[in-house]
Each structure stands twice: as C-alpha cells, then as structure tokens.
Amino acid sequence: MNPLLNPKLPEPAYKEEFTAGRLFTYRNPSDLTLWERLYVPEVLRGLSITGSIFFKNMGLWLVWLGYWARGRANEAPRGAVTVYYPEEERPDMTKVNRGKHILTQRLNGEPQCVACYMCATACPAWCIHIDAGEHPDPAIEKYPVRFDIEIDKCIFCGYCEEACPVDAIRLTTDYHTVDYLRERMVYDRDYLLSWNPTKVQQEHVYPGGEPRRG
C-alpha cells in the first residue's frame, strides 16, 4: 500500500543514510536534537548529575563522621542504599524472594514428597538428587529415601517449586546459603525437613509468609 494514499499512517520507523557509498538503513533512527547531538553539553550535564551524587554522598559521609564521633553511627542518614551484608540485612526483603529450599511435611512429619523426580527433571542446574523408596503405607506408595540439594549449584530459579505436583518443595525467603565447606552445602532430606519440625501441624505455613489456605 502506498503510504502517500493514507496520510494518517505513521512515519516509517527507519532512516536511510548514504555512508561510504552504501545505503544504510537504520531501524531505530536517532531522535536526538541538535543540542543533544553536540554531545559535550549533555556529557557535562551527565557529569554534573553523577558528580552531584558523589558530593552529596561525601557530604553525608561527613555527617556520618559526626554521628560516628558521638557514637550514634546507626542513626546517621546514609547515602548508600546497599547494606554491609553479613553485618546488616535488608529489612525490606520481599516475601517472594526465592532462597533456601524446604520440604513440606505431612501431619506426622514425614515428607510430603512422593519422589516423582519432577523437580530433579525440571532443575536446570541438576542440583537435586533423589532416591525413591517404597513407603509402608500403600496410600502413599513412594517417598524419597534420599533428597539432596546441592545448594551451591542451585540457581534459585524456582522451577522445582513449579514442577512439584504435591507442593512438597518450596523456596523460602532465607538467602543465607553460604558456607566455607562444600560438604555443608549439600542439603540432605533431614535438613530440608527440619525447617519447622515441631510447630504447626494443621496447615503448612510458608515460612516468613502468609499461611496457605485451601
């Protein structure tokens, strides 16, 4: 269709330009104004923005020094929005953060898991290792004899949670998954079950979150 026949059509979103004897077509042509294309003033503007943040934060540091000198460093206003991780923790960590795994339990404390390997199959990091066994109760039939998660391989994508057909594995908000020993970073079945071994048998409470209903 000839765009001239329909003047309401928008301008074609590309620009053609002869450069080095060839016709180049830019799909996303620059929409900079001449002032912006002079570059230097805009660079200076950018530098003034980052520079002002720099000086503001240095000023705040001086203020902090003042508070620190009076032993009230905690009350000082701070420019940094990040935290010193092991010493400090973010108070506003989201409830849907994907962290350490847990295995949910049946009423008698056994794992809800039926060892279907869906999580192990879905896991892109291949960090879940299950051995299935025959459960004495024929209504359950199958349960995990071994359920290991190599937390150091885990990428916290949450696919295991998605794949689980019986809501047996969940990611909690707990993100303290570091350790100095690799051996300790393989979470076994008992560890994964030990998140809340005695409390709340009536409903499975999502640690740090709302209780799930229904």
Partner: protein, 539 residues
C-alpha cells in the same frame, strides 16, 4: 513361490498397497498416519475394546476400530478428521474418568501411552464431579509383578499374553462394568517365565516390575540395542542404562528371533556384570610376578605365545561360547593361521538358566556357540587336532605345553570340578586366561587378562537358528580393560600375523554382521517429558 495377494486402499488421501489381511491400523503406520491405540498389540490377537483406534471408513455404518478392520481394495480411510479426533478425545476422557492420575508416583510416566495420548488427543481438565471408582492397589501378582487396579484401563493385553503367548492362562478379568479388574485366576500368582512381558506391554502403569519399580525415571535412561546372552536364542534386547549401569532390559522386536518377547531370566543377567569380575591383569611368569599393567600383561601373553609357536602341536586354544563372531574370527586366525595349532575348540561358558521350552528358551545357555564354530574355531582334523575333551586329556597327560583359555566355565567340563582343574592345569607349562570373570582358571593361569562383559563391547552373535544379531556397547568397561578384538589384534600384530582390522566395523564386513542403525546420540536429557522415552517404535 506363491504371489502375496495385495490390496490397495486410500488412507488420508494417500494410496497404500499392503498384503491382504493387513489391518487398517497397520496400513496406516505405513504412511506414517499413526492411529492411537491401547489394546492393540502386534504380537497379540486383536480384541478391539479400547475404542481408541476408531477411524472413518467411507460406507461404514458406524466408525469402525482400525485394529479389527482388514484392508480391502478401494477402501477410503480417514484418520484425521474432526470427527475422529473428537472420538479420540472422548475415549481419552472416558479412560481418564476413573484413572487416579498419579503419574508422579507411577513408574510408567514418561513412556505411558495414556500420558502421551492425553497430550496428543485430549488436553483438558476432568469434568468428573463424583467420586472415582476405587479398586485394589499394590496387588502382588508375583514376586516380579505388582498390579495397581486403579491405573488399569482393562485393555486385556496381559490377559491375552498369558492366553496366547505363554498359554498359561493365569490372568483374567473379573467383575463387570467399571468394577472390572484383572486378577490372577484362582487367587494364585503368575508363575510363567515370561511374566515381565506383561509389564512391558501394559500401556499404562497398572503392571509394574518389582525389579524396576522406583529405581529410575524412564526419561533419564539411555537405550542401546543389545542381545541377551542368556541362551542360544539370542533375543534382541534394548539395554536401558544410566550412569554406566544397566537399569532394565527390554525386548526389541525381531520377528525371526524373539518377536516382541523375552524371558525373565534374560532381564536379570545384567545383574551379573559386576559380580566376580576380573578387573586387573595377573601375571605369574618367572621374572614378571606382581602387578602388571595391561600393556605388560599383553606383552607377557605375546611372549608365551611366541615361545609356544615353536611347537604348535603342543599349543591348544579353547574359545568362549560367549565371544562375538568378530572375536572368534580373530581367535581362529591367530591360533589357526598365525600360530598353526591344530587343537582348537569352543567350550560352554555357562550352564545356568531356565530349562528349554517351546516359547523362547533353548537348551544351550551360551549365546554364540554356533557363531564361534562358524568362524573356524574347530579342531583341525587334517592335522589330527583335538577337540575339547581331547585337549583336556592331553593336558592331563602333559602333552600340552601352552593352553589358552578364553572365557570362564572350563571347570564345568571336568567331572571333578575345580580340584580336577587344578590338577590338569598343573601339568601345563603355560596357561593363559582371557575373560571377564574371575574364574578358577584365572586364579591358576600364568597370565590372566581381563576383558569386557558383553554389554561393554560391540559384536555380532549367531543364534541357534543361524540368525545374526548385533549388540552395541552400552556401558564403559572397567578402567584399563580392553576388548578382545583389540587384544587379539594386538597379539596378531606382535606375532607378525596378518592384520584383519582392529575395530568392530572393520571386522563386521568379514563376519557379515548386520550393522546397527546409527541412532542419533541420546540427548543428555530428554527435552520433553511427553516424547516416548525408549525411542523405539511403539508396538
């Protein structure tokens, strides 16, 4: 030769010519229009109860089931119309109404026809608002087979298997309607020797093998075409393995050998791979005692044979009936041609196994006696060659200076067993053993070389009917263990014999082994749960 009568019909607008009497379902496979089915199995009589394979045939009063409809000339069949698809969806819905949908704990998941067809033909939520019908679960049909009544779709494949294949009639359907149930007749248990097949042919997870139950999810398995070494039938099988370990053995369809079936013992033989293995070479020659590398051990063998070559009459070689055709070929060439010994024969490696019957089992529990003999491992009559008994007698008399034993089980040929074996071998100056088992001979031999088990090497086997089958290496042999082909070819080279090739594919041209189809390398993981896991055409 009588001409096979053929009929020509149209399926989905394509002309197909098939032998008369072919079912529409089989004819559809020819053009790749796969008609879904549960109860139909090519190895069993047609029952037509699942109603999944309904197609449209022009002129038929009501849509017929394609498994029970024979092709006729000029028939016009449609397998992909909207009406047919609607019928399939409705049949799937009926099948799933009372199915427990416990795929997570079901071992069939991943190779379950119900799952696959659900994804292909149904894909909707259950509309059932009432209680499902409950049936017994975890019924032990035998110590090999467990039955789950709720998962059963009553296709009667298992019933027809016991009726028509084993003719033992243990299974039957009791009760009517949605209360129907497969039961072992008279409350006994399955007692035939082919019972694992009922779990194979079960299209759902109703019948499972205690052997495989909960061991592995099927989508983790890799599949390798192999043969069963349990008897001289040489059933074609698929080894399902993962992490260098065979998890289960499934029969592979080969019409002229084993059809669709195999016996229970064949499924258990893989468990012996790791038992009593000879893992490292042993050398007890003067000056060479102690641990030896595979290279040193091979050198020792070459030295012993080089010595023996000077008196070929006093050299004897006993071959394994578990060896492949290619190995036997090299064995015959090495000893018959290069070393010129007249004394060559093949022994039985194993005499354990089920007795002979009229389904599959044969009396000889070694897979390749016929093949080894056919490759020329026979006494040279012209030069007064001795057979197996003759060789053992000659050993006893001290006439044999060097004895090469390939494979375990020599003591089974001596009435006195192991103690007599020690006596006999003590009269022989040099005993060389080659085999995968830590046999009494291996302990008495001057040089013992480990070799791979059958699942760990390529090779072809000739069964009792003279049919050759090829087995593909499924597992990695233990570290440092080299295959017989390599060892024999190496010895041939060290002894300045003719070179016939060092790989299976080179030698297969000489033994006439059927080359296995090159399968695409298995994906590290199956990309989709919904693909048929075994990768072989579904029966």
């Amino acid at each position: 030769m009588s001409e096979i009568k053929t009929v020509t019909l149209t399926i989905d607008g394509r002309q197909v010519t098939v032998p008369a009497g072919t079912s529409v379902l089989e004819a559809s496979k020819v053009i790749g229009a796969e008609v879904p089915h549960f109860c139909y199995h090519p190895g069993l009589p047609v029952d037509g109860n699942c109603r999944m394979c309904i197609v449209e045939i022009d002129g038929a009063r009501r849509p017929p089931v394609s498994c029970a409809t024979s092709c006729a000339d000029g028939m016009v069949v449609r397998t992909d119309t909207a009406a047919v698809k609607a019928i399939r969806a409705s049949v799937m819905e009926f099948l799933l109404v009372n199915h427990p949908i416990d795929c997570p704990i079901c071992d069939k998941a991943g190779e379950c026809m119900l799952q696959d067809y659900y994804m292909q033909h149904d894909r909707k939520r259950s509309e059932l608002r009432d209680e499902k019908v409950h049936k017994p679960r975890l019924v032990k049909f035998s110590d090999r087979i467990v039955f789950n009544g709720e998962r059963c779709i009553l296709c009667t494949r298992c019933v027809r298997f016991t009726e028509n294949v084993t003719r033992t009639h243990e299974l039957g359907i009791v009760n009517r309607g949605d209360r129907a149930l497969v039961e072992v007749a008279g409350g006994g248990s399955l007692h035939n020797r082919y019972q694992d097949n009922v779990a194979d042919i079960c299209p759902v997870g109703a019948l499972t093998k205690t052997d495989f139950r909960f061991k592995k999810r099927v989508w983790f398995l890799k599949h390798t075409d192999s043969i069963c070494p349990g008897c001289s039938r040489g059933c074609n099988v698929v080894l399902d393995h993962d992490k260098n370990e065979v998890v289960r053995v499934m029969p592979r369809f080969r019409a002229e050998v084993n059809g669709h079936w195999m016996c229970d013992e064949g499924r258990d033989i893989h468990k012996r791979i790791g038992v009593d293995r000879l893992l490292a070479p042993r050398v007890k020659l003067p000056g060479r005692e102690g641990g030896a590398t595979p290279e040193e051990a091979l050198e020792a063998v070459a030295e012993v044979l080089g010595e023996a070559r000077k008196t070929p009459d006093r050299l004897a070689a006993i071959a394994s009936s578990w060896g492949t055709n290619e190995e036997a070929f090299l064995f015959a060439k090495l000893f018959g041609e290069t070393l010129r010994t007249p004394h060559m024969d093949v022994k039985s490696d194993s005499d354990e196994g089920y007795p002979e019957d009229d389904v599959l089992h044969t009396a000889d529990h070694n897979p390749n006696r016929a093949g080894v003999v056919a490759q020329g491992v026979v006494p040279n009559d012209k030069k007064g060659g001795l057979g197996l008994a003759g060789i053992l007698d000659a050993c006893r008399r001290g006439d044999i200076q060097c004895l090469v034993v390939w494979g375990p089980g020599l003591s089974g040929h001596l009435p006195g067993g192991e103690s007599e074996l020690a006596l006999v071998l003590s009269k022989v100056a040099r005993v060389v053993y080659l085999g995968w088992k830590d046999d009494p001979v291996a302990r008495l031999a001057h040089v013992a070389l480990p070799t791979p088990a059958w699942a760990e090497k390529d090779g072809s086997y000739t069964n009792c009917d003279g049919i050759k089958s090829t087995s593909v290496r499924a597992l990695d042999p233990p570290p440092g263990v080299r295959g017989e082909i390599e060892v024999l070819a190496d010895l041939q080279a060290r002894l300045k014999g003719r070179s016939y090739g060092r790989t299976f594919r080179e030698l297969a041209a000489k033994t006439g082994a059927p080359l296995p189809p090159r399968r695409p390398a298995p994906a590290l993981r199956q990309p989709s749960l919904y693909r048929h896991a075994s990768g072989v055409a579904r029966p």
